[in-house]
């Protein structure tokens, strides 16, 4: 991610026609994989992520078990065909790090102590990448957890924000991701207003940083409404 001389904002609009604080078209669908305890598909514009949850289930090997609490395991993976230059299958360093931060973003929401010795396994697959893949994945994973009936204190909602051509924007697409002065991923517990994931790289002043965090919070509120709808929708259709 580096700055660019290219104009990414023309007449106050982004290259794809959006306003700085406008999200891309978002679709969310729950319960799409019947062999999983819970599942969901989310897309933000051209970024598609599917998540599925297996569990709570017995955890083996035994030495991995925690006698007084369950554990959460998360695997974030990008499909080889998800990006322009085919990505070799299997975990790379970026996927390993994202798997970790995604897990830590969702752990605070789950009542793991209700399932000692068990594990809840979350799998996130990015089917097509056009920026903000980890937050799209986390939004899907949170829906999948709710769909699976995993007891949680809140959903987890995530979004990306950043700075491009000096302007602060929301929901970066692939091109913006690569050409921004800064980009930030935020995940939070929407009704408790607590942040569970925060990553930023770029160059921002402290004031810009706080503005970005607040901008992310506002966008998460909108995304949460969509998550709510997707879950309630599933049980309306008969």
């Amino acid at each position: 991610m580096s700055e660019t001389d290219e104009k990414m904002i023309v007449d106050g609009k982004r290259l794809d026609g959006r306003l700085p604080n406008q999200l891309r078209p978002i679709k969310m669908e729950v319960k799409i994989i019947n062999r999983a305890n819970g599942s969901a598909l989310v897309n933000f514009g051209g970024t598609y992520a599917i998540a599925s949850v297996h569990g709570p289930r017995a955890l083996f090997p035994r030495w991995m078990q925690e006698s007084d609490t369950g554990i959460l395991r998360c695997r974030y993976n990008m499909a080889p065909f998800s990006v322009e230059d085919r990505k070799s299958p299997g975990p790379d360093r970026r996927s390993v790090e994202i798997s970790k931060v995604a897990r830590l973003a969702m752990e605070p929401a789950i009542f793991l102590e209700d399932f000692p010795k068990a594990t809840i396994d979350v799998f996130i697959e990015v089917l097509q990448a056009d920026g903000s893949t980890r937050v799209t994945g986390i939004n899907a994973a949170s829906l999948a957890l709710a769909d699976a009936g995993v007891p949680m204190k809140d959903l987890v909602t995530a979004c990306s924000v950043g700075k491009i051509n000096g302007t602060l924007i929301v929901d970066l697409n692939g091109k913006e991701d690569n050409n921004s002065e800064a980009d930030m991923a935020v995940a939070m517990l929407p009704t408790k207003k607590k942040i569970t994931l925060l990553q930023m790289d770029g160059v921002v002043s402290k004031e810009e940083l706080m503005t970005l965090v607040n901008l992310a919070e506002k966008s998460c509120e909108k995304i949460y409404e969509l998550q709510k709808q997707a879950l309630k929708e599933k049980y309306k259709r008969i």
Binding site: M1, S2, P108, M200, D201, V203, V204, L209
Partner: protein
């Protein structure tokens, strides 16, 4: 030990009697690995990290044809802690390397354009290899500091046609900023700097902030499975900015 540490913190004290905004005794040494083009070791309390910088000639990235390349890797060798296992880097080692990398890269502390030899064909690749020697907490700050010190210590070897003359040098690696990484931990409602190993297991969250000389923030990474309020984030960033100034003076 952890329970005791928690009790103390609630009373406003830390196990090793430090103040909440105090870091452990810090020692930085440079240049002790002669075979590396740059090297440094950092001792932060009992946490010890050694970083070596090696420069090789290679191809640039296709989207940055006139820039040198920076590659950061971290090894959590089993000798440093009973919790580390042999084998390829686990998620913690990968995360640490990537966070240190982002701090160095986004701050633009190395003038990568000056590492270009033949645009599109040959550039210097700077390998920053982080080796954890002893894990007594706050590996990230120690590793980031050692990496910066090693880069400041690094010299570019002379090139004779295709050969790299490792014992002769052309000059220092062009480092123009000193980004400093400060990790702030949250326990209950309190914030502390430079968590020790015992403190790390009782922290609910940590925020690692990479601050550049001009007080801009170049990288942020929340760690741990706790929750943070927006107000917490602001406080932690403020603490990091303040602390970074103090540490920066110790790395010349």
């Amino acid at each position: 030990m952890e329970k005791y540490a928690l009790e103390l913190i609630e009373k406003g004290k830390r196990i090793d009697e430090r103040k909440f905004e105090e870091i452990r005794p810090l020692t930085i040494k440079k240049g002790m690995i002669e075979k590396a083009e740059g090297s440094a070791s950092v001792k932060l309390g009992e946490t010890e990290v050694i970083v070596g910088v090696k420069l090789n000639v290679g191809e640039p990235y296709p989207d940055a044809k006139d820039e040198g390349v920076l590659i950061v890797n971290a090894e959590f060798t089993p000798l440093a802690s009973p919790d580390f296992e042999s084998g390829p880097p686990g998620e913690d080692a990968v995360e640490l390397a990537r966070v240190v990398d982002r701090g160095l890269r986004e701050s633009k502390c190395i003038e990568l354009k000056k590492l270009c030899i033949v645009p599109g064909e040959k550039v210097w690749i700077a390998f920053v290899d982080i080796h954890i020697i002893n894990h007594q907490g706050n590996l990230l700050d120690a590793a980031a500091l050692a990496s910066l010190a090693a880069l400041l210590n690094a010299k570019i070897p002379k090139l004779d046609g295709e050969n790299v003359l490792r014992k002769e040098f052309e000059g220092q690696l062009p480092v123009v900023f000193k980004p400093i990484n400060i990790t702030v931990g949250k326990v209950g409602e309190k914030f502390l700097v430079d968590p020790s190993f015992e403190e790390e297991s009782i922290l609910s969250s940590k925020l690692s902030v990479c601050v550049r000389d001009d007080e801009n923030i170049c990288a942020l990474q929340k760690q741990g499975n706790g929750e943070l309020n927006i107000e917490d984030i602001e406080k932690m960033v403020d603490i990091a900015i303040l602390k970074s100034k103090e540490i920066r003076k110790l790395v010349e």
